[in-house]
Symmetry: C2
Amino acid sequence: MGVDQELTGSAGESDLSDLDAFFESTRDERLVDFLDLLRIPSIGTLPEHAGDVRATAQFIADRLEAMGFEHVEVSPTGGHPIVYADWLHAEGAPTVVLYAHYDVQPVDPLDLWQRPPFDPVVEGGRVYARGAADDKCHVYVHLWAARAWLETRGRLPVNLKIVFEGEEESGSDHFEPWIVANRERLAADLAVISDTGFFEGNHPAITIGLRGLLYTQIDVRGPKLDVHSGSFGGNIQNPANALATIVARLKNDDGSIAVPRFYDEVRPLTERDRDEYERMPFDEHSFIEQHGLHSLFGVPEFSPLERRGSRPTLDVNGIWSGFQGAGSKTIIPAEAHAKISCRLVADMDPESTYERLREFIMQVAPPGVDVTVSKLNEGMWSLTPIDHPATQAAAACLEEVFGEAPLYLREGGSIPAGATFANVLGLPVVLFGFTQPDDQIHAPNENVRLDNLDGGLRVVVRYWQRLAQTEL
Amino acid sequence: MGVDQELTGSAGESDLSDLDAFFESTRDERLVDFLDLLRIPSIGTLPEHAGDVRATAQFIADRLEAMGFEHVEVSPTGGHPIVYADWLHAEGAPTVVLYAHYDVQPVDPLDLWQRPPFDPVVEGGRVYARGAADDKCHVYVHLWAARAWLETRGRLPVNLKIVFEGEEESGSDHFEPWIVANRERLAADLAVISDTGFFEGNHPAITIGLRGLLYTQIDVRGPKLDVHSGSFGGNIQNPANALATIVARLKNDDGSIAVPRFYDEVRPLTERDRDEYERMPFDEHSFIEQHGLHSLFGVPEFSPLERRGSRPTLDVNGIWSGFQGAGSKTIIPAEAHAKISCRLVADMDPESTYERLREFIMQVAPPGVDVTVSKLNEGMWSLTPIDHPATQAAAACLEEVFGEAPLYLREGGSIPAGATFANVLGLPVVLFGFTQPDDQIHAPNENVRLDNLDGGLRVVVRYWQRLAQTEL
């Protein structure tokens, strides 16, 4: 669906036609500015692009400074900087921490790009470039939405604290420490994160749920060194066979997890939840095609979207032992290793889930080898109620601009910033953005729909206005 | 036990005191010659040592030529050469193909050697050097045993066809093709292989059995590319989990193999077999210590030696999938792979064993992934009857020289030459040699007992004599 271009009359209680007119009159300038942002190859994972990442941060800081933000800072983190800025003159109105990220994914395989990834082109209503959808379009939308208010009205309806990250694609290692260190100046009523998008078919959406993570490693050790499979085969436990046995015992044939009490705290789906899932059109066949999957496979009592959004998982992320080359080498390996992670949903506790998993692994481990389990990583799930006033305000703006009530999504993955804002700052989190599933995020020929961004600008200016009138 | 130095009186029907005297009088010369052979770093796997491998072949060929062997040849194979020579003037006596190998293992880790590996030293009755035990001592023993006959008596009691390999430690890739190509000139009555040794505790032994091999690979494929474990977890079959399930199903908890009909053709142990195994002293504790094992583990109905010599195995030699680095990467891998091999015993057929394994894997493979199984390698088991006259002749000589009836060993591994001589040339194979289990074969500080070699020389000269009087 497209944007309702005629809709300029009402934005909550106020007439925002002057802001909409500003967007019309700055159309060319906005596009040039967006393309300039896309031209800087801010690939955060590649050390040789560290200067580009920094230049992008400075590009954004300069614009925030120019439009009247204060305390503008390219703030060091130990890794790539965070761009911070605030505008805090909306007395009595809510304060919003606003998140997007300005770093981008690497571009390989380069030969699959139809145009160079940092030489953006506009074609068929879309802008093609690395970062066009993930996540520079949201940096662009928020910069220009704020500028529309500040240039047209000389003010913002809410207090904004901008936190644009430069390490999202490389692990966000320094993000949470920076948030902790800046906890006091980040005091706010709400966090808004723009790093998600619409549902398949370009249906407007708000992401209300993210899964948490528990990431573990199993190490199995047998003989001190690899030994000859002829001389020792039949007389010792093979660490790789033992590891396979452990891994196999963690799940049942139907895909469910066999760890006792694993599901004990999982919040059951309500009627309302299942109704929301029902509303979402889901085409299994095209989903399989689009993502190059073999087929779908999962616990049969739940639909694919329910399994993604509301059920925990257990997956091997990596496994290795012994000989991996071409041909044959006749050893019994000395050790075997697996990375195994779980996605967690409301109301699971990462710590007790880890304990149950560890205990079960030790219990099913075959004799004749040493088995250790360790936790590498964990992250909380998050779930913002649909009827939270900040969620409902966003929904109203999306419906007003895009002509369609948004869907409420629960994503299968995690956005570290979401958990950090919820856990460190204690804020409700609203996640919305304007990309959509065929934007080729992380892949060659990444792109974004310009009409979605036009609509996005109108949604955001309305959202600040509406939040000013909302009791959070 | 030591060698009976007094025993010079009888060797079958003949008095071999003149040969024993030759060994006494050449003691210094023999040692110098052995050390010279050990000094050439004939590491077959390292291309930079190809010249040394060739020089070693020439060293041996020169000695064979000098003592009166004919058709002496450093024969090209496509890899490292085979040293061929024959002496065929023992009319009416049996013809023996005699095998040893002159290449050696690499020396790393070099820092664990107490002396440089190619600068041999004699200490405490042992010679220390890479290749001292595996397998240059047998090249040395056979060269000097033949020379003792030729220099003392001007003849050998049997016809000898010498085949000394230069690629045993690097896979014997060109050995079988060379044997096939030279099948006619290798016509013989018996093959003698010297690349094995005594039993734990330095008890004389003859190796009568070797296990065969079936080496396979399982490939499991799911999504076209690695996918995000958050977005897809719970909705697709994980190839690594699926592979673990397959591997786990191949074996039972007691270590036995779960593949239907896997054991159908396995030759049961007779009373005589079990008695032979009973004769062998086996100290489980010191075996575990010596080889750095965790503990022993195997099918409880069989003893460790029975499991090694007379029972088939199934082991993972390598397994790999997805992320293997430090830290956490949240993917569901696109594919997963395992190398799985079986050791085969009499009377198993590699081909039908492979079919049963493949069929079972396909049957237990979970849904939602593509599974393929392929055969990478196979080799026949071999088992020479204890009461074969060539075995009994060797046993008599060992007992005569070392004062103790030999044990009859079934090794867990394979010696490619054994299967080749049996299958290509159709020969009975006798395997005996004079090293022993604490010689540090393939490890730093490899060494060999000089008294074992002295005894070995006397065994070999007697063996040729006794074979001349034996109906094969």
